[in-house]
Symmetry: C2
Subunit: 454 residues, 2 copies
């Protein structure tokens, strides 16, 4: 199998590096694809990784640059910081401007200026231009190296141009058609080009209803468009509809993976830069804020319970049921938030269609609340006391209804306010649900104690 | 903007349908891309959606089939079930076999046989063949319509063949090279083909180290390979290395979205088929099992607390702190599980590299436990009692350490046992963490009460 052969190679490379046989290691590396070289480096301990990469830069700059392009940004930046600055600027010049821009953006500020100056005028200005666009927008992730021709060029001329200039481009699938001032007019697939009579001008072959994004379109929206329309690349235009760059589907796949991780992490209260294989201290830093937030939420519940200690003293079993009270609302809230945030993320749920969803989710919360309430209420009535069962049943209904309603309203409102709903919803919803649930549970128990001598 | 124009169109279509002007509506629909027709249909209420689609089938079968291809499987199946069976079989025949197979697999069994029989012999056998592969494997999602030529064909002949047969294929970017028995030998991109001298045989142009998958490769693994190697399509071979089909990047993007939703939902305890815009009763069914599971977990904690009620009676403040005890371990566990499951999902974390991660995560849990424990312990010591603060601090350390260790070990073990770690980890980890945490909290409090007259 391919993977097995790859693993054997990786082991040999690691052994060679450990023995200091860097030249042999690099010879082996040169037989791998750049992405696998990146994988091999990640497997090495930090010090050996840096030494190997340094040797690779000296020995084969192009391959080192290709490897860097395939690496996770954070890791690539670490490697760059271990090199001398001349090598860094030579490396960045070898890379496509979109990949170089990603790395430069993460370097310390004083480096950035020095680097941009050192890099050749032309290439550097490309990187500088990309850095002028906001993070996570189409402008930042596009590549300015697209293949565009004038509308009067013929199919045959286009094929010749493609043959002459093909070295410049990573991947060509579409030929863009522009006017003399670079306004985007149309698009032609390589296949359509092949099928057209040689003397036809591009104007007559092109599809003029081009799906496009603008430089300020959010990268998540770009990914949605590429996914919806099954595109291999999407052109990026500026405010005047001039072609500024393209984004290819392989970069979109990276965006999709990144956004999926972000959503998943945000809902679990983990910062997006946490990694299972990263350092422990990094993970501590990434997770502590959210833990302290839930500590705050839990302490509010503590204050409520403390306020009702007299009630609990009368009826100790109320204390035994707190784990159920604390758990169920939170679980139901997380379920609702997840479904709603995902629907927002996939572009299915808009503010306008939201009202229907709020009612639907409230109904779901009510139904699940009644079912869970009945089960746990009957169990408590049977094993403990009937009235206590009633209190718990009503608490469950209330808790799950509140959780579902807030779990829908809060993410939708946050989205409307342009705050990331995945990131901020849980704190609000869980805190509010907890407060309402505990107040209802102990408040109603206190009332019943007073009136029915529970 | 494009989206605005599209929304205006969708509103007009909805109005026309409501007035019963189906022919006009279909004329408007015919101006949209198939994926937007699918979007327009989703916006209509069920009854009108079915009527409009029925009219579309009668009026333009090809477009109806294209629309169906762009729709979510579940929705498409609903639409099919409202049609008469003859129309369904005609529709399925118009669709690419991979899309048709997806739909047929979801129809009731008695329909399946009838349909496969009705469909033309050739096409039906294609669908039947795909259905022979397991769900979520490369064999099931591949399309058998690939473009392959013999190794002795020349570049010029290949271009002619492409021009003649291009109608048959959705998207051609790669030309596959096979021997006379259809064994996969190599691959050539359309661009390389254009750049080669016309008389060169394909054998001399092709790249022979082709990245490939087999018919039984899991679709998640296929997505990982396509993403890693930036492919536009990946060839699927059978056990004898014969070319069986290809999977294109647009289908991979669908797989990625599906898998991201599945992971996200699994961690939140929601079944993958839950939808914000679906019916309430569907959502109730999808969420209740997980709620009942957490109810079970919470009830174990109830039993533990009930066992220690005498301790709580002596020291009521122990009850007030239960919300903190119940919350923090669960939160830390969810964080760890999420990071570990994601790393497994992205293929970064293997069983072999797992030991390092277990130690690292345990260290993270210990550190966060000490920090959280110190904060909450000092607060309790200050506002309540020093000894109680000590109990809570130790409980936090214990709880977060256990949560982190189990949160790493359990998903890795499940993966090793070929159980989906996203689906099953939370139940095990949260239950075990809760049990250990509550026993430690109330057990140590009981001991202290006895010895120090807390």
């Amino acid at each position: 199998m391919q993977t097995q052969r790859l693993n054997v190679m990786l082991d040999s490379i690691a052994k060679l590096v450990r023995r200091g046989a860097l030249t042999n290691a690099i010879n082996l590396l040169s037989k791998l694809r750049p992405v696998d070289v990146a994988g091999a480096l990640v497997h090495l301990p930090q010090r050996e990784r840096e030494a190997t990469f340094d040797a690779l830069v000296k020995h084969d700059l192009t391959r080192a640059a290709e490897t860097l392009s395939e690496m996770e940004t954070e890791r690539a930046v670490h490697l760059l910081q271990a090199l001398n600055r001349d090598d860094v600027s030579r490396l960045l010049q070898e890379m496509p401007s979109d990949d170089a821009a990603l790395l430069v953006a993460e370097l310390p500020e004083d480096w950035q200026d020095e680097l941009l100056e050192k890099m050749k005028a032309e290439q550097s200005s490309g990187v500088q231009e990309l850095l002028g666009f906001a993070d996570e927008t189409a402008g930042r992730i596009m590549t300015p190296d697209y293949f565009a021709l004038d509308e009067d060029v013929t199919a045959a001329e286009a094929i010749t141009a493609l043959q002459l200039r093909s070295e410049e481009f990573e991947m060509v699938f579409y030929l863009y058609v522009v006017d003399s001032r670079n306004h985007l007019l149309g698009v032609i697939s390589l296949r359509q080009l092949l099928l057209s009579p040689p003397s036809t001008p591009l104007r007559k072959i092109m599809i003029s209803d081009v799906i496009r994004v603008t430089t300020d379109t959010d990268q998540e929206e770009v990914a949605r468009i590429v996914a919806t329309y099954n595109l291999l690349a999407v052109p990026v235009v500026d405010q005047e509809s001039k072609l500024a760059g393209i984004i290819t589907v392989d970069d979109i796949i990276d965006v999709m993976r990144e956004e999926a991780t972000e959503d998943l992490y945000a809902l679990a209260g983990v910062d997006a830069d946490d990694r299972a294989l990263g350092s422990a201290m990094n993970s501590v830093r990434r997770r502590l804020p959210s833990l302290l937030l839930s500590l705050g939420t839990a302490l509010i519940a503590v204050v409520i319970v403390r306020y009702y200690l007299a009630t609990i003293e009368h009826k100790l079993l109320l204390a035994a049921l707190i784990p159920v009270v604390a758990a169920m609302g939170g679980n139901a809230a997380t379920q609702t938030i997840t479904v709603v945030v995902r629907a927002i993320g996939l572009g299915e749920l808009s503010w306008e269609r939201g009202r229907r969803v709020v009612f639907k989710e409230a109904l779901v919360g009510l139904t699940n609340g009644v079912i869970v309430g009945l089960i746990v209420g009957l169990a408590v009535a049977f094993f403990f006391e009937p009235l206590l069962g009633g209190v718990l049943a009503l608490t469950m209904i209330m808790s799950l209804l509140v959780a579902a309603t807030l779990g829908t309203l809060v993410p939708m409102t946050l989205k409307r306010l342009k705050v990331d709903p995945a990131l901020a919803s849980s704190v609000f919803v869980l805190t509010l649900t907890d407060i309402i649930t505990f107040l209802f549970y102990l408040g109603s128990a206190t009332l019943l104690l007073r009136h029915f001598k529970l």
